[in-house]
Symmetry: C2
């Protein structure tokens, strides 16, 4: 049985992660959130599950948008402790520890399964998609973001000079799927590279219809407000997918 | 009205194109063909349209596979002249001049629309997909290959050293869609870069269900037979899509 690497409970990773814009400012600190939000179905009255809920920002947003119930699942004790501390006890939101490699969910127990930037830590995506598919009611939606394969593929990822003073991003070993070990906030963080084709075909084979795909790029307004985002025009960092459970 | 650049009727381009492996050896000279072939529906008894049919290799294959009719359309007089000369006059295959920017097809007149490496020359893909959608019978299929956006995006595309002696491919301006002018077989060849998201979302909006996506990478057997294909593992050159007309 594969068990996920629990990087978020490493002190160095957790400390670094806690200082990221998206950790301090929540959804408003995540530049892809305005786009991801447009991919969500109506949340009011629906049963929502958030896989890799972290500090619970999305859970609180969904509860505020009128969700009937919100279940936040995460591998990290540290993150759930803070999520619980910041969540009003109104009976809508509940949190639990879960490993996405071994996740089990009750059949037809959710109308929306959401996940932000967690799936690239999962080795067995096909198993996870199949579990989500069974957990969704008919016509239920899976909406998730993940690191983009263009961002993850290269052996030595990182900006290069394009030869004329501009920036370019290297892509190599794109077709070689599997673990990529990086040093991001901590050493030896393992992520799993899958091609775009594999992600989409696996979803389709698991019984989903792809309804929308986005490759986050900042708007001119976002770049004006935060010039460091300009480089994101050159290569997508995040892949966003909306998929509907087929009957 | 947009009219396509007719590069194939330029003497330099046509002469260079005629010497490519895929022009000399036909489908067997196209390394992505074995994969693309697995994405096709049953051809026997079906009405097939080939957009950008070139020398007619696929048309003759489809006729040999039992298609009821095969219409090969192309912008190039030169290519159609050779296609006609190499096609037996058995009443199954017909050829005609057509510009994919202004294409018109009769409603529900086809069961399979196929296209190999032509759509990246088309500026208005949304118009083209809509025309194809109406031309397909219910549940009819569109199966096409096009240059991959990873291959097309960069300002200065071409292999680079990855810093350790290996190869890497530059990606920049990925989110900046539109014309890319390259010198391939001729100078000033115009292709149109669209992101993966745009291609898939436009198909979905035009009434297609995505049934399969592939990013061609050579098999170990192909690399053994043709070692120059090994570099294709590093970044996909071709995007292959199969989509079904929704009712």
């Amino acid at each position: 049985m594969v068990v996920a690497q629990n990087i978020y409970d490493r002190p160095d990773f957790f400390a670094g992660y806690s200082r990221l814009g998206r950790s301090v400012a929540g959804l408003g600190g995540a530049p892809e959130w305005p786009l991801l939000r447009t991919m969500l179905p109506e949340v009011r009255g629906r049963r929502v599950v958030d896989l890799g809920c972290g500090f619970g920002w999305f859970c609180r947003w969904a509860a505020g948008a009128g969700a009937a119930s919100v279940r936040g699942l995460d591998l990290s004790q540290n993150m759930l402790a803070r999520a619980r501390a910041e969540t009003p006890d109104d009976g809508v939101i509940s949190y639990a520890i879960a490993d996405l490699e071994t996740l089990e969910l009750a059949a037809a127990s959710a109308d929306l399964v959401y996940s932000s930037l967690a799936f690239h830590y999962v080795a067995d995506a096909a198993r996870l998609y199949a579990v989500i598919r069974e957990a969704l009611a008919p016509n239920g939606m899976l909406v998730f973001s993940t690191e983009h394969p263009i961002f993850m593929a290269a052996d030595n990822a990182g900006w290069r000079d394009d030869g004329t003073g501009g920036k370019t991003w290297p892509v190599d070993h794109y077709a070689v799927e599997g673990a990529r070990v990086t040093d991001w906030l901590s050493v030896g963080v393992v992520k799993y590279h899958r091609t775009m084709a594999t992600t989409l075909n696996t979803l389709i084979r698991c019984g989903f219809a792809i309804t929308r795909v986005e490759e986050f790029s900042p708007t001119p307004e976002q770049i004006a407000a935060n010039p460091s985002l300009a480089e994101e025009v050159h290569r997508p960092m995040f892949l966003l997918v909306a998929a509907r459970r087929q009957a």
